[in-house]
């Protein structure tokens, strides 16, 4: 503790401190419906943690295991490194759009405020979470310690409950992307694929999975955290 404190060049931003304080100790024993979630998705210039950046964040709040139509977050982010040519952008955002957007310095605190004390969820969320935290460290002097649930891992767990322990995930791994799962589970589908739509699509997947998994005795936050952790994802 003390060494951590002295190592920090400056005190973390109050938002970060509040987050860390809250999630240092929480009870995971309540049914999942008693927790709020922010299901989010980011758009990145690429997958390299070294040189790539966040260019959009989309998120939607889930409370009482229902999606709230009004509580959404969507922001474009102006990349620091202007050398990202249009061809390196995987999404349909034009450089002009991005140049008009706010810096991550501005967007990130808004996003963290939007998240409040909710838990996080996303599809292969570890990647998004790492990009968020890398920025948080740089901008706010600390990282979020919010626990998260990954819909990709939950989907794997669900399929195993459903099909038994011999279910071979590795053979069907390519079908664990968001669009494929949405099709497989017959969810309402969103045609656009920006951060906001994907966040909403993920939220539908999330609701589907957590409610479907109840019948296998997966009920509390602790159950779900455990169910999601059993799967090692190879990228």
């Amino acid at each position: 503790m003390f060494t951590d404190f002295f190592k920090a060049r400056k005190a973390p931003h109050p938002l970060i401190r509040q987050n860390n304080r809250y999630f240092r100790e929480f009870s995971a024993e309540s049914p999942l419906g008693e927790y709020d979630f922010i299901v989010f998705d980011t758009e990145l210039t690429g997958f390299s943690k070294k040189k790539d950046e966040i260019i959009a964040i989309g998120a939607v709040r889930i409370s009482n295991l229902q999606i709230s139509g009004a509580e959404t977050f969507y922001a474009l982010v102006k990349p620091e490194n202007n050398s990202h040519t249009p061809s390196t952008l995987v999404h349909r955002l034009t450089p002009q759009e991005l140049m008009q957007a706010d810096d991550l310095k501005v967007v990130l605190p808004h996003f963290i405020e939007f998240c409040g004390m909710a838990f996080l969820a996303g599809h292969y969320v570890r990647l998004d979470f790492e990009f968020i935290n890398r920025a948080a460290k740089k901008i706010l002097g600390g990282v979020l310690q919010t626990p998260y649930l990954d819909t990709m891992r939950l989907a794997m767990a669900f399929n195993e409950y459903k099909h038994g322990h011999y279910y071979d995930h590795y053979n069907v791994r390519s079908s664990y992307n968001l669009a494929a799962l949405s099709k497989e589970f017959n969810l309402p589908e969103f045609v656009e694929h920006n951060a906001m739509d994907d966040a909403l699509q993920t939220a539908y997947l999330f609701l589907f999975l957590v409610k479907k998994m109840r019948r296998y005795g997966v009920r509390t936050m602790a159950d779900f955290l455990k169910a999601g952790r059993n799967w090692k994802i190879i990228l």
Binding site: N64, A70, T72, F190, M196, D197, A203, F208
Partner: protein
């Protein structure tokens, strides 16, 4: 940030898009839809989830199915299950318990994995209170008993939230708005004394009692002005001599609109409010106008106040404004057409009495006959004139000649003034300016007999106009005599009835085999259909035909249908369907014409299906489907084979 109106939010877009394609949400404008989407929550129910348990679950949301499906079923005391319904994408559940404020009335279970949009109970009730078309959809889909509860709910809601004037005219009961305390005086009281009491108490009327304290009449400030002052009676005259008897009464349970209609019909400004067989209070035009800003009573008073015929010219145009506000307040078509009829009558009556002052008394008693839609009390805006003069028979040849001359100039004058008031001439020349339609009773009787005895295409056509005659001014007993004679023999005129029945089957409703609307292919009315001639006329002709067959003494189509249904002449269920369908068609026409007049166009009956909402189109198709059942009934009733 997320609350910015223009921020990008697919949940809202998705919900709005979905609502736009779902009944009855598609009747809401896009602002209302976005507001609603913002309030929506999205929930998921795996297959086999019991969402509602009959009698147990409290219903906090209206559930709109985005994807998936549910079944609803009832369980009786023996646990017997009866399936009620399946609902799928775009359909909803939970509306009824919310509106009735009860627990779930059914069990609802998902039969597939189901995603729903949830609208909270309060938000849904507010929608009902705010959006008339929206709430009418729910009213229409529920039975009469449920509708009663809906109105009760509205009323509660109104009182607690106090939003727009809403359904006030149709929800506020007389018992609630009647302010006038009751003052009685014995019949022997002198007029002077009555006037003193009225000015002391600052009231406009006193009820007059007999020796036993029973109420026998009413004396108003107007009686004192017009009868005592104008006739030069002494102030010691007993009030019994100038009172109006009997007193017009209205139930304290009646709604405001009924009171207005009754006051206008009876030309009175005071009604005694009756409760449990006793008169408890008075209600006056003033009470209503105070509570109801845009009351039709203003126009009613303005018409009554005119002293010159030319003063009436501009007033008929105001009927449109009054009707507009009534529609905005949620009036049903039947109430509106009745209101239009009463206002038109009032203008006509004022005009006729002013002209009689000018022309002097008529040589023979007469009444002014209204024909066609006017006679049926189904006018909308700018209905063509259809009228005639019926006067008493006389043996006095000189008198007859004088009468013919008097009614010629009188009839022509009235028609001219009516045109200036904005009532167009009848293209078929069925008007009191045509000598053929200004006749003594005996001649009229001869006309009707001839039409019945020798049915020609022309006489069948005539029947559609003349057999709906109604007298609202003058010696109405002449019209009553004519009516009772016609009804006396019409039921036996089989050949005539058969021709009329054939006429009812001669055309088909404008629906194709695939239940699409059949519209005009070209010309000025391309892509439209004539709602009156291709739709409403079936109901009107049907009601007339059976009324003539069974001697029903009504001219109004809805009233005819009701009498026929209640009297067992037609199956009650068919009667109800006909009434509902016909009223809906009237409503569509009124709203259509109102839109046209808002846009500065002449109102007509040409409806473009493309301009209607999904909801209206669907209901219209249902209304047209009733026409086939009506025709089927005629075929059986008159033993007519397929034509």
């Amino acid at each position: 940030m997320a609350s910015d109106e223009d921020s990008y939010s697919p949940p809202l877009t998705v919900i709005v898009k979905f609502l736009q394609s779902a009944l009855p949400f598609n009747s809401l404008d896009s602002r209302a839809l976005y507001r609603l989407a913002r309030l929506c929550r999205i929930d998921f129910f795996p297959q086999g989830t019991i969402v509602f348990q009959q009698g147990i679950s409290t219903v906090d949301y209206l559930y709109l199915i985005q994807q998936g499906g549910v079944k609803s079923y009832l369980k009786d005391a023996d646990d017997e299950i009866s399936l009620n319904d399946y609902r799928g994408r775009g359909e909803y559940f939970g509306a009824l318990p919310i509106i009735q404020n009860t627990r779930a009335n059914l069990n609802v279970e998902t039969v597939e994995d189901t995603f729903c949009f949830l609208i909270s109970k309060d938000d849904f009730l507010q929608l009902l209170a705010r959006h008339r078309e929206f709430s009418q959809y729910f009213l229409r889909t529920m039975s009469a008993k449920m509708v009663k509860n809906v109105y009760a709910e509205f009323r509660q809601h109104k009182i607690s939230t106090k939003t727009e004037s809403g359904l006030y005219l149709f929800s506020a009961t007389i018992g609630k708005i009647a302010k006038g305390r009751l003052f009685t005086i014995p019949a022997g009281t002198a007029v002077r004394e009555a006037a003193v009491i009225m000015s002391e108490k600052r009231i406009g009327s006193l009820l007059v009692t007999d020796n036993d304290g029973k109420i026998i009449g009413i004396v108003t400030d107007r009686d004192i002005r017009s009868k005592v002052v104008a006739r030069g009676l002494v102030y010691q005259t007993d009030v019994a001599e100038i009172m109006t008897a009997p007193v017009q009464t209205i139930s304290s349970q009646a709604v405001c609109f009924d009171a207005i209609l009754q006051m206008m019909k009876k030309r009175v400004h005071h009604l005694a409010v009756e409760q449990g067989g006793e008169i408890v209070r008075m209600i006056t035009t003033h009470d209503i106008m105070v509570t109801q800003g845009t009351s039709p009573l203003y126009l009613f008073r303005e018409i009554g106040a005119q002293r010159r015929v030319s003063g009436l010219y501009d007033l008929s145009a105001k009927i449109y404004q009054v009707v507009r506000s009534l529609i905005e307040e949620g009036a049903k078509a039947n109430n509106i057409t009745r209101m239009i009829a009463v206002l038109n009558d009032h203008i006509l009556e004022k005009m006729l009495s002013l002209l009689l002052e000018e022309y002097g008394a008529a040589p023979l008693p007469f009444c002014w006959l209204l024909m066609g839609s006017e006679g049926r009390r189904e006018q909308t805006f700018k209905t063509d004139q259809d009228n005639a003069i019926l006067y008493a028979d006389s043996d006095d040849e000189v008198k007859n000649l004088r009468a013919a001359e008097f009614f010629r100039s009188f009839g022509e004058a009235v028609i001219g003034h009516l045109v200036k008031c904005g009532y167009p001439l009848c293209p078929g020349d069925i008007m009191a300016s045509n000598p053929k339609w200004r006749q003594p009773l005996a001649v009229w009787k001869g006309y009707f007999r001839a039409w019945c005895r020798t049915p020609t295409p022309e006489s069948v056509l005539n029947s559609t106009i003349f057999f709906d005659f109604k007298a609202e001014f003058g010696a109405v007993e002449l019209a009553a005599e004519l009516r009772s004679e016609v009804l006396g023999y019409s039921k036996r005129e089989d050949l005539f009835l058969m021709h009329m029945a054939r006429n009812c089957l001669a055309s088909r409703p404008p629906l194709s085999f695939f239940k699409n609307f059949v519209v005009e292919k070209d010309g000025r009315h391309k892509d439209t259909f004539d709602l009156k001639r291709k739709g409403m006329v079936f109901f009107v002709d049907f009601a007339r035909l059976l009324s003539l067959k069974y001697g029903v003494d009504e001219t109004n189509t809805m009233a005819r249908l009701q009498v026929l249904g209640q009297g067992g002449y037609i199956p009650e269920s068919l009667g109800m369907e006909l009434v509902e369908a016909y009223e809906f068609l009237m409503q569509v026409r009124l709203v259509h014409q109102l839109h046209q007049m808002d846009g500065g166009h002449e109102p007509d009956n040409y409806i473009k299906p493309g301009d209607l909402s999904d909801l209206e189109r669907q209901t219209l198709k249902e209304a047209f489907a009733v026409i086939s059942r009506l025709q089927e009934f005629i075929k059986q009733e008159f033993h007519l084979a397929e034509l």
